[in-house]
Symmetry: C2
Subunit: 785 residues, 2 copies
């Protein structure tokens, strides 16, 4: 039980850059101060500097001790919200420095900036396309070699007996490749595990997931993907490449060194990734908007669209060269489902209910998948957390996958004639007659993407129902086991494959039970619907997924059926359990903000929600106080309201700004002190550049040495604080606070009383705490895990 | 010159419901009060009730007089901003009544609400589809009859001579039909004129365009569209139906009686309209988002998508019945461009520069079109403003169009063989040999939509270059003349037709100048690119237009070229002049808010931007004061900050809420007074229902009789005011104010000093005033036109 608190890999290492918590005191929620309009009471809520932190430390001691005493016993469940994740600052820090810079800038300057944003997006698209192309070619080459070797081996031993040697060869080959992939992921960059979509979802939601946009992650991810696909796991090669390649570019342009710009570029990267993967530029844009942007900005959307287009274009261009048809740009993206054309695309009104029923099946199967994977993930969090164990599990899965596939192929007697138009690259003859091939092998002995394509487009009669049924069953469990392994791999393509298999099965069954089979002539259509249903049931995306499917199949006719199917799958699936990505996000205790506040939260106001008391700083503050405040590891606040006392009055101080930990650290590092003792100003003039240079890895406070003399100095925060932070009154209802917070991408929202005095601070965690459970509004616990 | 101030028809009648201006005093901008942190000065900015309005009236007298003295002499230009347009309240009025209702509501209640929203969206989609279907069928039938009559007539007279009789018949027929359409539009509902897109753009932007969402407008519009298309004007039948049919539905559900919900449903309606018109559900959603939503809400987007899908589906379903293929749902939308399939869809890398060049041409031609139409519109505003003149102009255009078409056909000798696969429904033989038909007639003697299709898909060689060149030239000017007439008609299809014509011309020319003509085999491809370029050059949409084109042509391959073309066309066109819709919006002096604040506006702060002084009300206010404030026609404020004095202190009062004119009117109407004189509370308990019943046509203040006794009563606003209005400090920069305002869809934003006292009010007009002109930041004048 000692490992119960262990998290799955992509968050298991805390961010080195340190500080967590957005100014949320540990006492959060334990004792909400009584609200009063009288200044005397209201004022006491805001405690200044050192005094406050000392108070806090005293107050929290018991709480903290109890935590330290039994840190291992915090049960790992979804009722927790981790304090370790920071928010991104989507709101510009409009301090004097920033405004001065903006005001100095001419109109041409802004035009240039705009153009360079386009250039960056173009580069992102280009690089994404390039990487996608690289992965595609390498996977194709390596998988080709592997399947060729195994195929020859199997053919050699089919006659003479001793197929177990082939099995062994296959299993060992797979395990070895997967081991390689698992090792680089588990030991070098755990965050590169999985599909990358939950991480990107969180990042776009505004949560700083450590290391998700670093070059190293990208390299590991590309390597990991190649290994897992080639290793024959039930995974897809898509989606994993969507996000990591922009950090390097972003930093070329100094101006873009802030969270706002970075997040925009990550959106563009995510869109470009999806776009390259599916040849779906519009779908990519919608994906990025659906998951990320809480607002809609036309220019930003165009840039994202531009990145998507460039990415698809680059991929097509290089693939066309690779396929010796240079300049033929009408190739689709990385995942080619083939185009549905001609008569097979038509559907009839009476098929709509069938499609909807398939959507319901997809929802049910998806929920089952998610529940199984949820249990598995809990198991993994508890027992399989050491890197070497993770690598071993991955190898085991690879070996089991090979064995099961082999067994299925071995015992299958679904022989199909090897017609002139057959599209399989590695047909296995096995025990079939000459000129025939084993149909089960088409499904298993292939990259998943090719299998999907053959399920969509092969002639009716290519598969017999039993083959499809067995394949669905085994692949379902294999895919479920595979997702969440310490390898870089997505759930997209496996879901599509499962769905396509049972969808085609439905089509075949329908054709047999109806007397006039001609109209059901195309089981490929049902495979497509099944694929959509299964994927929708697992991941629960609707809008972007519809468009992605439409674009990936190159035909808009199926738009309505696919949409209906996805909606049905989502409704049915949501009845049982959340989407797969949401489950994994929840298991990470990430403070994820949904689109709207919980419906029944109108009775909560900012007063109940906010953290209080708040550590405030004076506009001219003693350096020692600042250092102590920042060093206070028990609170780890990241934002501090700045207050000013009306001179000569004994009224409590009023809010005049907000300053971030990172800014204070830069100020301390550059020793921007006013030595009042010598009564002359020696405050160094800092430029915005100094802050940008430090971005994004601000040193921890411990690394900054402040001498005892310097502690006595003062620091003037006027220039550096954001002088106009957004504020709300205490009576503001939670939905209203939520809307403001979400629409503007805030990190800190100051709650003030009617005299403009600070009474509390609302951060992401305070809002994410409230969520709608089965029994109405629930409140999650906050924990420093 | 007396009519210079007259507006074009869709805004020429002021909204009967009266009050305009969002609390913007007439003195706006003339004298900004000096800012100070001292309470004595700051407090004086907020004047209470009657006192303030009297002051104001006195102050403005001279200003007003000068306006009254020479109202005719205000030159009509784009440097004006009209005060007559109101804003929508996208922000919920969170007063006590509202919160009580929300708090009483159970989780199931919210679910039901959500479900009914879906139902409404479904109904919107269904009705939109139905109306689209109705228009399509009626247009097809009537146009069929007309063309048949004219064709027979022409054939009769071709042999015997006397074709001038045919011309006369054609011209008279057209004029008569157009007259009918123009009469209903000009006399009954001027707002139904034009394409409807500028109006919807404004509405979605948050501006209350009077009567744009009423049933009468819808009926007139449908009639008008049918008449103009059948009348043979250079117009398209799309886009005009996009928005009007939801008011009636919305009001079934009482809860939805607020601007927030209404605007959401209008978004859905707009999307459904585009979706039905082009068979482009995704394009419809993107259109609605690109033009409207300033934020992105997942659930809302899904609902919009749902409405789009249902609309396309309904249209397809009923059209399939009409075409005797019931249940065949794979038909595309109303505008069927035909599908690009097979080999013709491929394009090569070296064609990309050609496409981009065509985009540039499209941008140039589009800019020319817009400039011409701009001058024409100015001319119309000055001289053609009386309904009968408008009808006459429309008839003139119809007659000229018929004459020009006839002349072109008459003098054309482009005879083409009447092959078995010809698709023209009304081939005109004229002077061609038997078995041939006049190719020029295909383009002119047809509904524009059919002409586009034939330009896209007819075999190479169907048109000769001279025909296309002449056609482009004449149609360009005809379409330019037609747009802005007092008929319901859009610019979409004519633009596409012009573009398709010169695009096909480009394709043919390219095929002739290159030695190996085989790769240029398909001029239809170039027609498509040309159509996109021309349309992009005129309307300057990019993202949604790309998707619409892709969906309308049923092929995603052209995504990248179309996008590049649209972007080029936009960049080139923007260099010269704005998009057509933006020009028309500007000519209306509508306070349209763009996506972002002007780039160089960082030096402006809320203090400079805000209107001040502000008319404030006390929390418990004298009825007489309220009546006087509301009756003050010179200010016509719509929102009033509510302030409260700290009892027993002489400090200036502090902000405690915000109340709207419409709320005050309902309160007055229901006589919610506290008769302090009798020292008992007789304040009637009002329900939220009372406010909803009054929505959206609140009576003007003049219609409410308040006796002298009642004037002495007090009114307690506590329950009804929004107790937590959004506020900003005075130092907030314009971009920050803009962002907050736009992201939350605000109508009033209160500016407070650091003691929480009201110093100003920012409304839509204050923000829309600043815009980026050729010479940097410009400030528009506000005028009560």
């Amino acid at each position: 039980m000692a490992n119960i608190t262990k998290k799955v890999s992509w968050s298991s290492r805390a961010d080195e850059s340190g500080a967590a918590g957005e100014g949320t005191p540990l006492l959060n929620g334990s004792e909400q101060p009584r609200h009063s309009r009288q200044p005397s009471e209201g004022g006491s809520l805001c405690q200044i500097g050192r005094l406050s932190t000392v108070d806090l430390e005293e107050e929290i001691t018991s709480d903290e001790e109890s935590q330290r005493g039994r840190p291992k016993e915090i049960p790992h469940n979804e009722k927790l919200l981790s304090l370790k994740y920071e928010s991104l600052d989507y709101d510009n820090i409009e301090n004097q420095l920033f405004l001065e810079e903006e005001r100095k800038m001419s109109y041409m300057g802004f035009r240039c900036l705009e153009i360079s944003r386009w250039v960056v997006c173009g580069l992102i698209g280009f690089l994404t396309g390039l990487i996608a192309c690289f992965i595609d070619i390498v996977v194709e080459q390596l998988a080709g070699i592997k399947y060729q070797v195994v195929k020859e081996n199997i053919e050699k031993f089919t006659e003479v007996g001793g197929l177990s040697i082939s099995l062994l060869l296959w299993a060992v080959l797979n395990s070895a490749i997967v081991m390689l992939g698992a090792i680089i992921v588990a030991f070098f960059e755990p965050i590169a595990a999985g599909s990358g979509i939950p991480q990107i979802k969180c990042y776009l939601n505004g949560i700083k997931i450590p290391r998700v946009v670093r070059l190293k992650t990208l390299v590991v991810k590309v390597g990991g993907v190649i290994c897992s696909v080639v290793g024959g796991l039930a995974v897809g090669k898509v989606k994993t490449l969507i996000s990591e390649n922009r950090t390097c570019i972003t930093f070329i342009f100094e101006y873009f060194r802030r969270d706002t710009e970075k997040r925009d570029f990550v959106s563009a990267g995510a869109a470009a990734g999806v776009s390259a993967a599916f040849g779906a530029p519009v779908g990519g844009v919608l994906f990025s908007l659906e998951e990320g942007a809480s607002f809609w900005n036309q220019m930003l959307t165009w840039r994202i669209f531009f990145a998507s287009m460039i990415s698809t274009f680059t991929l097509n261009f290089f693939l066309s060269i690779y396929h010796n048809k240079p300049g033929e740009l009408s190739n689709p993206g990385l995942i080619n489902f083939g185009r549905f054309q001609g008569d097979s695309v038509a559907y009839n009104l009476y098929e709509i209910p069938l499609f909807i029923a398939m959507g319901a099946i997809g929802g049910l199967l998806g929920a089952l998948f998610n529940v199984l994977n949820y249990w598995l993930t809990i198991f993994r969090i508890r027992y399989v957390h050491r890197p070497c164990l993770q690598v071993m599990e991955a190898m085991l899965v690879a070996a089991v996958t090979a064995t099961v596939s082999f067994t299925m192929i071995y015992f299958s007697n679904d022989c199909q004639p090897l017609g002139p138009e057959h599209t399989e690259e590695y047909p296995l003859q096995l025990f079939c007659a000459d000129g025939e091939y084993n149909s089960m092998a088409t499904a298993f002995f292939n990259t998943p993407e090719r299998s999907v394509r053959s399920l969509f487009h092969n002639q009716p009669g290519t598969y017999n129902p039993l083959t499809l049924g067995l394949f669905t069953l085994t692949y379902f469990f294999l895919a479920c086991w595979t997702y969440g392994l310490a390898v870089s791999a997505g759930v997209f393509i496996p879901s599509l494959l499962i769905g396509a298999a049972w969808g085609r099965l439905c089509g075949i069954l329908l054709a047999t039970i109806t007397p006039d089979g001609s109209i059901w002539a195309d089981p490929g259509k049902y495979a497509l619907i099944g694929a959509a249903a299964q994927l929708g049931g697992i991941v629960r995306m609707t809008l972007s997924l519809t468009v992605i499917m439409v674009e990936a199949t190159g035909n808009v006719t199926y738009g309505l059926p696919i949409m209906l199917v996805l909606m049905t799958a989502k409704i049915v699936g949501d009845y049982f359990v959340e989407g797969l990505y949401d489950i994994h996000i929840k298991l990470q205790s990430v403070p994820f903000l949904h689109w709207e506040a919980p419906a029944t939260s109108h009775w909560l106001t900012a007063r109940e929600v906010m953290s209080s008391p708040v550590t405030c700083l004076n506009r001219i503050e003693k350096v020692g106080t600042i250092v102590d405040t920042l060093s206070n590891t028990s609170t780890n606040h990241n934002g501090f309201p700045v207050v000013v006392k009306v001179s000569g009055s004994d009224e409590p101080p009023k809010l005049c700004g907000l300053i971030l930990r990172s800014q204070l650290i830069v100020l301390l590092k550059h020793k921007v002190f006013v030595e009042l003792a010598r009564s002359r100003l020696t405050q160094r003039k800092l430029q915005l550049k100094d802050f940008r240079d430090a971005y994004p890895r601000f040193p921890p406070i411990q690394s900054i040495h402040v001498s005892q003399d310097e502690r006595e100095c003062m620091m003037d925060l006027t220039e550096f604080m954001n002088a106009t932070p957004y504020t709300v009154p205490q009576e503001t209802s939670l939905p209203r606070v939520f809307k403001l917070f979400r629409a503007l991408g805030l990190r800190h929202l100051v709650v003030v009383d009617d005299e403009n005095r600070v009474v509390g601070l609302v951060t992401r965690k305070d809002l994410a705490r409230y969520h709608l459970g089965k029994h109405g509004l629930e409140e999650l616990q906050l924990a420093q895990t």
